[in-house]
């Protein structure tokens, strides 16, 4: 089955895509760039790097822009998926939805209306097992946004390795965050994955941080051989 992966550039969409590649044919990535930082569906600080990731993975990309107005942005997502059907003949969509009924429901409805399959391979997954597997399979994931206590500024740009995962697990116990960041506590960017033939190198970035909220914006990045 030919599938398109909804991709924000973060760990969940890429890991879902990676799982899809083990079982079906991933034909393209689908990306919606929101110009509204408060978008319910699509805001991620570094979604502009998805084209570079697509190149690293050797996958075509279908990308559309949205103003990010609640519910209206769904029409833009539907447009992006329809484009992927036209250009790449996809029969279904893969998402990295973990727990968000809001996001999951809306994507399911769009797929139903377009008569497409909808797969959410991380849906209600065991967070500990998922994060362990993410590291074990060789994903290099960087934190690019923090949005809750107790995340300090030094989390911006930090790679999620064994030490970072141990810290996150302590935060789960003490501060009741979600381990995966599904509650919006942090955002990530995938720099390398088993399905990448090249890895992403950040050449220039800027950081903003205040009161447990911060964003790392990548200004320049490139690909290097693995």
């Amino acid at each position: 089955m030919r599938l398109g992966v909804l991709c924000s550039g973060g760990k969940d969409s890429w890991f879902a895509g990676y799982l899809a590649m083990q079982k079906e044919e991933v034909a393209c990535l689908i990306s919606v760039r929101s110009i509204n930082e408060e978008s319910y569906m699509f805001h991620t600080p570094n979604v502009h790097l998805v084209p570079l990731q697509a190149e690293a993975a050797g996958l075509p990309l279908v990308s559309v822009e949205t103003e990010g107005i609640k519910e209206d942005e769904l029409a833009d997502l539907s447009r992006a998926i329809r484009l992927a059907v036209e250009r790449h003949g996809i029969e279904g969509v893969v998402t990295g939805a973990l727990l968000s009924v809001y996001q999951g429901t809306r994507i399911q409805r769009i797929c139903r209306d377009l008569e497409l399959w909808c797969f959410n391979p991380l849906w209600y997954t065991d967070p500990d097992a998922y994060m362990d597997l993410l590291l074990k399979t060789g994903f290099r994931v960087m934190v690019t946004g923090v949005f809750s206590a107790p995340f300090t500024a030094d989390w911006l740009g930090r790679q999620i390795d064994a030490n970072a995962l141990r810290d996150l697990k302590q935060y789960v116990a003490k501060h009741r965050i979600t381990l995966t960041g599904e509650g919006g506590e942090y955002e990530t960017l995938v720099l390398d994955a088993p399905c990448f033939t090249k890895r992403i190198v950040i050449e220039e970035s800027t950081e903003e941080y205040c009161n447990y909220r911060g964003i790392l914006r990548v200004r320049h990045a490139s690909l290097e051989a693995k």
Partner: protein, 202 residues
């Protein structure tokens, strides 16, 4: 041992991760021994040690199971509790002579309990996640336990502990699966308290 059956279009598909793994996670967390199998690979040995059986849901576009009803005739004589979730409820319905018809719900809805039953405790109503394109007209004699505005949400065999739920309890209603597990051993499970009960006790 709880036997968890994958009803999706292919063994180890992407739907397995979405519809079987979350259920298995709840059973595992409850400390119960479990085993999973795809319906196409089931043998009589799989049923031998089962103390309870869970038939999992499928993707909204996946109705292959509905063409394989004859492969599930063993449900008519199974002596242990069965919980059919969404596609599983549709299958139970068909095996026992009920029918299914188009009827779609996607997202959260309110499930209202019409007939008190150990599976749904005494909760008069609760929010539940729906993902189905067909609804059930239950087999003759089966009891309707719960409904939503759209369709029948939970049914029970008149004599045996065979249950079907149209909503997906693995999403936000783990307690329904836990309650089913308690029915498999005859031990009372923990029901969530209603708002009224919480107020009284506080």
């Amino acid at each position: 041992m709880i036997l968890i059956i994958d009803l999706s279009y292919r063994a180890r598909s992407l739907s397995h991760d979405e519809f079987v793994c979350p259920v298995a996670h709840i059973v595992h967390r409850a400390g119960r021994e479990w085993r999973e199998t795809h319906f196409s690979a089931m043998t009589s040995d799989d049923l031998k040690d089962a103390e309870g059986i869970i038939l999992c849901g499928t993707a909204i576009k996946d109705n292959l199971f509905a063409t394989k009803v004859q492969e599930f005739s063993w449900l008519q004589t199974i002596p242990v509790p069965v919980l059919g979730i969404c596609a599983g409820m549709q299958l139970l319905c068909r095996v026992f002579g009920g029918t299914i018809r188009p009827g779609c719900e996607i997202g959260m809805t309110t499930v209202r309990v019409d007939t008190p039953d150990p599976l749904l405790c005494k909760s008069p109503a609760f929010p539940a996640y729906e993902l189905h394109s067909f609804t059930c007209d239950p087999p003759r004699g089966w009891v309707t336990i719960a409904v939503s505005d759209e369709c029948i949400q939970a049914i029970r065999h008149p004599e045996k502990p065979l249950y079907g739920v149209m909503f997906h309890p693995e999403v936000r209603n783990d307690w329904v699966v836990e309650q089913f597990l308690s029915l498999c051993t005859g031990v009372n499970g923990t029901c969530p308290r209603s708002a009224g009960e919480r107020k009284k006790s506080e």
